[in-house]
Symmetry: C2
Subunit: 381 residues, 2 copies
Amino acid sequence: MGENRITPIRFELIHQSKISRARVGKIYTPHGEIDTPNFVAVGTNGTLKALDNQTVDAIGLQLMFCNTYHLLLQPGPEVVRRAGGLHKFINRKMPIITDSGGFQVFSLAYGSVADELKSRGAKKTDGHVLKINEDGVLFRSYRDGSKVLLTPESSITAQKAFGADIIIPLDELPPYHIGPEKLRASLDRTHRWEKRSLDEHLKNPQGQAMYAVIHGGVDPELRKASCSYLTQHPFDGFSIGGSVGKNKTEMVEMLQSMLPRLPEEKPNHLLGIGDLESVNLCVPLGIDTFDSSYPTRAARHGLLLTQEGGIKVGKGENANCFGPIEHGCKCSTCQNFTLAYVHHLFKAAELTAYTLATVHNLHFMVDLMRRYREAILEDRV
Amino acid sequence: MGENRITPIRFELIHQSKISRARVGKIYTPHGEIDTPNFVAVGTNGTLKALDNQTVDAIGLQLMFCNTYHLLLQPGPEVVRRAGGLHKFINRKMPIITDSGGFQVFSLAYGSVADELKSRGAKKTDGHVLKINEDGVLFRSYRDGSKVLLTPESSITAQKAFGADIIIPLDELPPYHIGPEKLRASLDRTHRWEKRSLDEHLKNPQGQAMYAVIHGGVDPELRKASCSYLTQHPFDGFSIGGSVGKNKTEMVEMLQSMLPRLPEEKPNHLLGIGDLESVNLCVPLGIDTFDSSYPTRAARHGLLLTQEGGIKVGKGENANCFGPIEHGCKCSTCQNFTLAYVHHLFKAAELTAYTLATVHNLHFMVDLMRRYREAILEDRV
């Protein structure tokens, strides 16, 4: 931990494409480098679903996203602190990013339930947010029913115990349907909370970097105001949160207007968006990192990603495909097993199916981003 | 496959303990050696639950048990044959044993549902056995409702397509509560079916070995008769099937009377029994191999096996245990992760928990049997 305290995060801009705003960079963290643009897999509870962290390391995933909301409730920050921090607790050598916990709590309050919570069913999350005020948000643990107060300070305290390389200030996630006045009020509160989070963080930086969260919903003026306010503070990077539009076109327009307002010498991150179409659209806009549970969830639902498009593994036509999922793929699933076998394991509802499919999809994303970086370096993207 | 046809199975008796009937041996198969006594893990559908076959190889499991009943229905013998046999289809380099399919079919008929089927719920299996006669058994596929006829010949045809190193003739599994006359009639039919299976097998041995299944239920005279009848035929080994008693004492008594009736120059196998207590009791009786889903199922249910006894991983006291599950254990789970982390993953209901626990329990069984062999070689068991 001593070493972590003195190693600052650093972003190196390596190449700016001649044909777009796409850029290749490198983020240096206490736990190693992150080549950008890159994909950030979601390991909510300190593990990717169906993969152990040794396997994730072997695939070469450079940044893993863990959720403070979940880790706060199980195992709790004290256990992680005693274990020597999240990297030691989950045995991950490479960088980790944690969020503030706010996204999940507000998803419960406003009904836009986060992906990770969907599988728990809606009933469990009803009425779990008890109070929201300037101080923070009081909610009931879905695990043991206890009341938990999440404030900018308590989120940062938890994220200090976890010790991720990149942490995120507490923000308010406004509901999608919200009037302009309430959205403005929500943004102002978010800015106050982010400032309080930054102040708390800077008391003991611990070698961690903090990325601000730009808000403002689908209002371009508020997004502009959020960029303007947050870039005046010494955040180490800038993430984009909240709704950026109801479709891809709106998302692209919004990002096109926002990204030039962010300092080019600092890394940016698009929160919770990382499906293939969005990655394809956003890399040319200059997004550095994307986190999403899409490829790992798709794997468990039997959708295998390839350069020729998705393969629905359960389809009968795959029963006799005795080649790999994708020819030329270097993942351990394709190196060792056939599409026919993975198809069979899905048909037989074997847990191993989820592991083999997740290995492939994660490797695909890591490799996809490597190919994007190559293309940008050659000004092809 | 050409090579398999000409390589016969061979059993080498290496040492007979001076203090018990325990023995150390080696079975040579077309896919490598099996040191005995040994544990045989169950990979019903061509995979251990929650482990891919590369991991199983790395752990050093020398013999894997696959279920013909399941593989017959999904993916079916034709797919496996086209894949080049079960070893190729599932990418397992080391030996495989398949059963006849009879056990699962009769479990459905008589209500003594096999472990592997329990998780499917009882409803799905009701009324699936349509007819049992001298020819074989007609049942309805739980997958697509089609009618499937399992006969000695069709079981062997399927097991030829699978190409396991060791195969098993079709037997009838009598219900536990059965009168003496019906048990005798069942045994006679089983003997006729096993003989038909052997004849079918010997038309094209394909380098496979066939182990007879000794029956006779809990009647010592019938067991004796079964040993007497089956050992007169050129089976390559002898397995013990059916109920051998309603408790461990009865099991030990029955095995004590049966094992001396089996030829010592051939390997034996105890079907479906492999919990720690039974292994402990049966190794000194001279059992060579045990198959059981116990350690892998126990792992998924959160019971971790150690030399000091079982650890219920979900217990609160494990939340802060930052050492491995078992000190000195060489499994990849213990080498890389703490008991606290595995505990956390179980609490968080992560699929990774099942994988890490299964790795440990399987490694424990493999290592336990290695220690038994050492102890027998030194006449300590």
